[in-house]
Symmetry: C2
Subunit: 348 residues, 2 copies
Amino acid sequence: MRRIEVGGPQPYAVEVGPGLLARARVAERQVALIHPADLPPAFVATVQAALSPTLTVEVPARDDCKTLGVFSKVLSRLAQANLPRDAAVVGLGGGAVTDLAGFVAASYLRGVAFYTLPTTLLGMVDAAVGGKTGVNLPEGKNLVGAFWPPKAVWCDTDTLTTLPPAVFAEGAAEAYKHGLIADPTLLPRVLSPDFRPGGPGLEDTLADAIVVKAVVVTRDLTEKGERAFLNFGHTLAHALEAVTDHAVTHGEAVGYGMHYAALLSRDMGGADLTAHTRAFLRWQKPRPLPALTFEDVWPFMARDKKADSEGVRFVLLHDLARPYLARVPEEVLRGAFEAWQADVTRLC
Amino acid sequence: MRRIEVGGPQPYAVEVGPGLLARARVAERQVALIHPADLPPAFVATVQAALSPTLTVEVPARDDCKTLGVFSKVLSRLAQANLPRDAAVVGLGGGAVTDLAGFVAASYLRGVAFYTLPTTLLGMVDAAVGGKTGVNLPEGKNLVGAFWPPKAVWCDTDTLTTLPPAVFAEGAAEAYKHGLIADPTLLPRVLSPDFRPGGPGLEDTLADAIVVKAVVVTRDLTEKGERAFLNFGHTLAHALEAVTDHAVTHGEAVGYGMHYAALLSRDMGGADLTAHTRAFLRWQKPRPLPALTFEDVWPFMARDKKADSEGVRFVLLHDLARPYLARVPEEVLRGAFEAWQADVTRLC
């Protein structure tokens, strides 16, 4: 079992290891447990046995739960149960449900305690640490939410054995990204056959990938500075998700987006790291994209949440583990897009 | 003009005086202005001229805007306008719209800058200072929200001249409450004929009432301690609002509730301050209540947001400006309720 401390104004610990669902414990006497409809019933039963929740709220699976409509219904369930302000909200499931549960915890009675039990690799590497919570709007993803750190995170590695390989690979994209921006030792380990559910490399590689995020968010909880580096590859990724109406998964989009960001980094004068992002795409085997032009994706990049009044910022790399923020001229964006498209057509 | 500093992790200033709508200035280049449909159009035009907002969003009047449905629609308007994260949300109007606007500001892109221009006495004395934002659920008032302090508050006293006397009196109830819990010099000043829109006592009495709240919330932003004292009179008040389905206004309910809390304070061994709360009721002239029994209101007191797992806490007074928190035995609650009912039947 690995234990990772996340600092900041409200420090908390992330535990990574087998059997943690059964070992979850909270200080609060009343608990609302929130989980998606498609979660294995045994996971829910195990956590219910551990926490004896006052109420258990089932929400729609995947991003279907990340709406203000579901947010509203869950809050009403908590209010109907008279859940007091010294209660806790516990999110059990993938990143979508922990994002929803966190925003519920942040908002119910203006904030109650929050705990997460992520059950997907993506949820463990990305969503569970750092305190970003929220839901989508019809106008875009994650446009509403709060920074609301959990009081504890339990990453039960046993839950990953039920994941389809493609869903596991989604989380691997974020772990690989952590390798590129901060810990290059992760790069070969994520691509190793030992990094699989039940594999000998799983716990330590996963824990080291979480450490990268824990260090960054400890220094920058509300994304005023370096936390933005975690968005490496995400500007094109979000555009690909939007333009395909989420036919492309987040993990596939990040795999594609990291390669675009590596091309931009090179074209802006940095080291050529594209061999790394090509290697990841070969390992990930994302589904092919529809035919896209720069004009298709540009409006979505320009309205990315990372945009401010001065334009779209990209996270680029001078070299491995040397990220920086830059505004990239449109002609560079356009040129790299053509190179990216040629590469992904060949690779995927 | 009076300027009041509110401290804490994000300090800000409250300005009180005439002509402030026209003098509002914000650092952010893009602004969403939110106002209720029943606001005098001249107020909206004045603020639009001062701030040149990117978009102006009209919402339903009074508590009809404090729903998750309106919250959702306003957020979509901001997203459709591509409002960036370095933009500001400005709430103009009564406490309901500033509560809504604050929760929108807290949640849009996980938080943008927030400013308020309250135009009711209640909004100036109570809602505008302290960072509590939020909306209602069908299950109860203010059950959803965030602590999200404004960057500045402008209380333009000119706006109060359009208020019906009964609406002005609503805010006077909160100002009187600040006198009881912290600054007894306010008590005669609130009841003075000089304390009226355009009156010579308005600006200073209003500013001193705001100072009470500013001092308390500076020391206790998230209501872990003494901030709860601001709820003096509010446990019965919220029950009266709920049981009458809000036929009783908040200000009337607080007038009634302060008298109940004064009776409880006396019965629990404190000084007899009921002459003060009777004097306020005589001044306020709230509309009579329907016939109510203790059994009618008790369930609503018991599920008040101020309740935690251990029961309903009441704010009581040892004496003027000496508030404390107590759990009151049910027989004391019941006895005081009968005395309260006899008094209000005679007075109102």
